[in-house]
């Protein structure tokens, strides 16, 4: 059964990664990053049960905290960029490139 959970987690992680690469809307890209974090958490919880050790759940808990902080800051940045450029597309925020 553990293998199933791990494969599911890998699938979700890969789907999230494809989303990050394919989508242009910054908010949707962000949601895909959240999906990848969630997939990691699933793997952590699964390994915790596999190894009979609570540390995996603890790490998943910390990942959730960090993800919440990251969402707050990231969305604030997206709103700020939207205010100056009137666009939430990741293609438009390219000034640092040059």
């Amino acid at each position: 059964m553990t293998t199933h959970y791990l494969v599911l987690s890998a699938l979700l992680f890969a789907i999230g990664g494809v989303g990050v690469l394919v989508r242009r809307n910054a908010i949707v890209v962000f949601m895909c990053v959240e999906l990848m974090l969630n997939a990691c958490n699933l793997a952590f919880v699964t390994f915790a049960r596999q190894n009979g050790n609570l540390d995996g759940q603890l790490i998943a808990f910390f990942v959730m905290i960090v993800a919440a902080a990251e969402v707050v800051i990231g969305l604030a940045i997206i709103v700020t960029i939207f205010r100056t450029r009137r666009s939430a597309s990741v293609d438009d925020a390219s000034l640092l490139k040059y």
């Binding site: 494809v18 908010i27 959240e34 699933l42 049960r49 609570l54 905290i65 707050v72």
Partner: protein, 314 residues
Amino acid sequence: MGESITFWVLAVVSVIAALGLVFSRRAVYSALMLGVVMLSLAVLYAVQDAPFLAAVQIIVYTGAVMMLFLFVLMLVGVDSSDSLVETIKGQRFWAVVGGLGFAALLALGIGNAVAGSPKGLAAATEGGGNVSSLAQLIFTRHVFAFEVTSALLITAALGAMVLAHRERAEAKPTQRDLSRQRFAAFGRTGKNPAPLPGPGTYARHNAIDMPALLPDGTIAPLSVNRYIARYEESKGILPPEVAEVLEQEEAARRAAQANGHGGEHGTPTVADEARDAGPDTEPMPEDGTGQDTVVAGRVVRPRGESAATEEDGK
């Protein structure tokens, strides 16, 4: 047995929802799909002896994070759709190929790394269940990391406030400033400084399409709603007295135009009013839009054209 049924149902649901998250056109649908994935993962946590994490997942992710996402979506604009332009050639195709390869690699690698049945958490949670055991770990061995996360959360809250705060470039106009502006406009163009009269509210009608009446019983031209009048005109249900008022006004406007200057000297008409419309007058796309508008039973041509014909007349 129960666990595998739960797993298969939720695995299918969550993978389909994740695909929907990536491929749905609208950002709100993506957000809802993400909510579905998070809820099913919460159930999977609960199945795998992690009730505390399941609760935290629902409270923090589906409660707080999803709300934040939806809020920002509404702020930024729900209809902000994706651009379909590929900035890197073939990026979509290679992203999908890379994703498939990555999934296969991960699934084969990590999926085969585990042998044997899970040990289970019974031994680890001996001292009083999942929550107390986790609390013991958090507040003893990992207490420093826990304290650091509190600093992180405070920093995040402060950072969000700083980033989302907007300084005003100029002072907010006060009532006094706005009043001065209105009277300056009155001195310049004769624009009525008072608010527009409201619609008529009389014994039989209480609606925006009823014009207000002046003391002598005639219709106050300023109170006629142009959009509704135009609509009624097109339907042929414009009341004749309103049509008459509009016609008179149109005639006055033409006369003023023929004199050379608009409402500079004479009494300002509604058209003038609309031209230098302040914030409290609704804009009227009557002039200069290039399309013929129907006012009071006849087609009013755009201004340039009518001026040209009048030039010919002279």
